[in-house]
């Protein structure tokens, strides 16, 4: 048993792992909804590839969550057999796809946070966390490069593409605060040296956002109301109406045929 495991309560550690694993699972689900419907063949391929990366990362994070939890569950059991209230993903990743601009903006806002998180986690005191973070970081660096580039090009494209990107930004920005709101779980994980406080990632994210939005000629929404930052958001299992429908679709076979193997 590693020192890190003793440094923090198993349930807290597993809870924290589910937050990361659920983010990539739900975002991967959303992105995969585009498969076959993208605005250009190259985008279709890139989106499927991104969904594939995210689902792959989810397998690792939820696999570790199940192991740490130690109750004999698997990554699949966590993904397919928990109800919405037990999911720990951010509200941002369950937002509907909207038009391609909204999908892209959601991706950019998340990628910019995700990369900061993974870079920090490479120094985790738990080698399993550090290892997954290092692997995921390579994929996510590419996701960010791509989403930032497209935000710039569409922000500084036609009048219509600019308007759509600004609208997407205004629509989604109120869901970004939750990424950096620390709570008791975050503090316990940071004290154990397994993770860092989410608030510590904010400065790096702010820089990326400011730089990219400026280049994209988009207006930063500034200080706006933020959802889910007062302990009642996705991280604690209080979700939007959308998650129930995502799960109804995602979990259908496992629910309709309990115990079947596929």
């Amino acid at each position: 048993m590693s020192g890190a495991l003793e440094a923090v309560d198993r349930a807290v550690f597993a809870e924290w792992l589910q937050r990361i694993g659920d983010n990539v699972l739900i975002l991967g689900h959303r992105v995969s909804e585009w498969c076959g419907h993208g605005p250009a063949l190259e985008e279709d391929i890139a989106l499927s590839n991104q969904a594939l990366d995210l689902i792959g990362q989810c397998q690792l994070w939820l696999g570790l969550a199940a192991e740490v939890e130690g109750k004999g569950r698997t990554a699949d059991a966590l993904a397919f057999l928990r109800d919405a209230g037990a999911f720990r993903n951010l509200l941002l990743v369950e937002r509907p796809n909207g038009d391609f601009g909204q999908t892209l903006m959601r991706q950019f806002l998340f990628d910019a946070f995700h990369i900061e998180l993974l870079r920090a986690l490479k120094a985790s005191s738990d080698p399993r966390v550090a290892e997954i973070a290092a692997k995921a970081e390579k994929e996510v660096a590419y996701h960010l490069e791509r989403s930032a580039d497209l935000v710039v090009r569409l922000g500084d494209g036609t009048t219509e593409s600019h308007a759509r990107m600004q609208k997407a930004l205004d629509l989604l920005f109120p869901y970004t605060g939750e990424m950096f709101a620390d709570d008791a779980t975050d503090r316990a994980m940071a004290e154990a040296g397994i993770a860092v406080l989410p608030s510590s990632l904010k400065a790096g994210w702010d820089r990326t956002i400011a730089d990219v939005l400026a280049e994209a000629t988009l207006t930063h929404p500034g200080e706006v109301w933020q959802h889910g930052v007062k302990g009642t958001g996705g991280k604690t299992g209080v979700h939007s109406e959308y998650l129930g429908f995502i799960l109804a679709e995602m979990q259908f076979l496992q629910r309709a045929y309990p115990g079947a193997s596929w």
Binding site: D44, S48, L52, D76, L154, M250, W262
Partner: protein, 328 residues
């Protein structure tokens, strides 16, 4: 197949050919590859554009019936495999559109022809995927039929098409394996799962046989395409091969092929089997299959909804280029 009923331009006997046409035919007969910049008869070029365009359209429309189950895949592993598979199909579309572009037609022009109904895609993708077992049946039967056709096309006379086929074939066998693997799991599973697998075979068997196109006696365009090595085997040859390969696989799964007339014919060394209902085939090709409206509608919607995106990228590229020039 992915290219069914491709209309072939003209068919000339050797005596009717000009010296240039004759020299071209002799190159093909020697097994030489024709490359984009080289002279080719107009009919050869047009027929290839039709066939490669139809093949490319089939790859991208073919994303839809399987894409239908990505969000409902039963495990994370299956979801990842299916995503990878459908992503490959989009990649196949991309290779084929690029290969077609070497013949002087743009991807946008081909898309426009798909959307206006002037170009077709394979009839198979107008059938619905109703259960998870359909993901198995599609990989096993549809990709299986595609492989039958595409393996010989690796030797087709047009260089870029041949090279696209070589890349594509490498991926297709993974597609068929993952499909068969789903079927194995379902057939070894609960009675409900096995019933789903049988139902999927029942629904996809005849549509899969239709993929090879009408019977040779009704296939009017084959001769010229075969002389040009754009088509390597007749429809019936490939269909027979497919049945002979697939029937033992169905037996291994413990599934019944939905054909009472299916019987081994010792003399020909292959199975005798029932022909699909060709009136259904022609109805599907004419736009009256169960999902034609949804499939084409989804492609048109993706294209129309994506217009602002493509325009935005174009506008940015132009701005960036003029900024570069201004800076010089």
């Amino acid at each position: 197949m992915y290219a069914q009923l491709v209309k072939s331009e003209g068919s000339k006997s050797r005596e009717e050919m000009t010296p240039q046409e004759l020299a071209f035919q002799e190159r093909i007969d020697r097994g030489e590859k024709i490359e984009p910049k080289e002279w080719m008869p107009e009919g050869y070029r047009k027929t290839l554009i039709r066939q490669m365009g139809q093949h490319a359209h089939s790859e991208i429309v073919g994303q839809l019936p399987e894409g239908n189950w990505i969000t409902r895949a039963p495990t994370l592993e299956r979801k990842a495999i299916l995503l990878a598979k459908v992503q490959d199909e989009a990649g196949h579309g991309l290779y084929l559109y690029s290969a077609a572009e070497t013949l002087g037609v743009t991807r946008d022009e081909l898309m426009e022809k798909l959307h206006s109904g002037n170009m077709k895609y394979s009839s198979i993708f107008n059938y619905p995927t109703l259960t998870w077992a359909d993901m198995g049946a599609v990989g096993w039967l549809v990709d299986g039929a595609a492989i039958m056709n595409q393996v010989p096309l690796q030797r087709t006379s047009y260089g870029p098409y041949s090279r696209a086929m070589i890349r594509i074939c490498k991926e297709e066998s993974f597609h068929q394996r993952q499909g068969y693997d789903i079927m194995m799991k379902m057939c070894a599973g609960s009675p409900e799962q096995k019933a789903m697998a049988q139902d999927a075979l029942n629904r996809f068997w005849y549509p899969a046989l239709m993929m090879f196109g009408p019977s040779d006696k009704d296939s009017v365009h084959s001769a010229q395409s075969m002389a040009w090595k754009i088509k390597m085997n007749t429809n019936d040859e490939l269909r027979q091969k497919f049945v002979d390969q697939t029937v033992p696989q169905a037996k291994y799964l413990g599934l019944t092929v939905p054909d009472d007339n299916l019987v081994w014919n010792e003399e020909k060394g292959g199975y005798d089997f029932s022909e699909p209902d060709w009136s259904e085939f022609f109805a599907v090709i004419a736009g009256n299959g169960p999902c034609n409206a949804e499939r084409l509608g989804a492609r048109i919607k993706a294209w129309d909804d994506g217009a602002w995106f493509r325009d935005g990228l174009m506008a940015h590229a132009e701005k960036a280029a003029s900024r570069r020039i201004a800076a010089e």
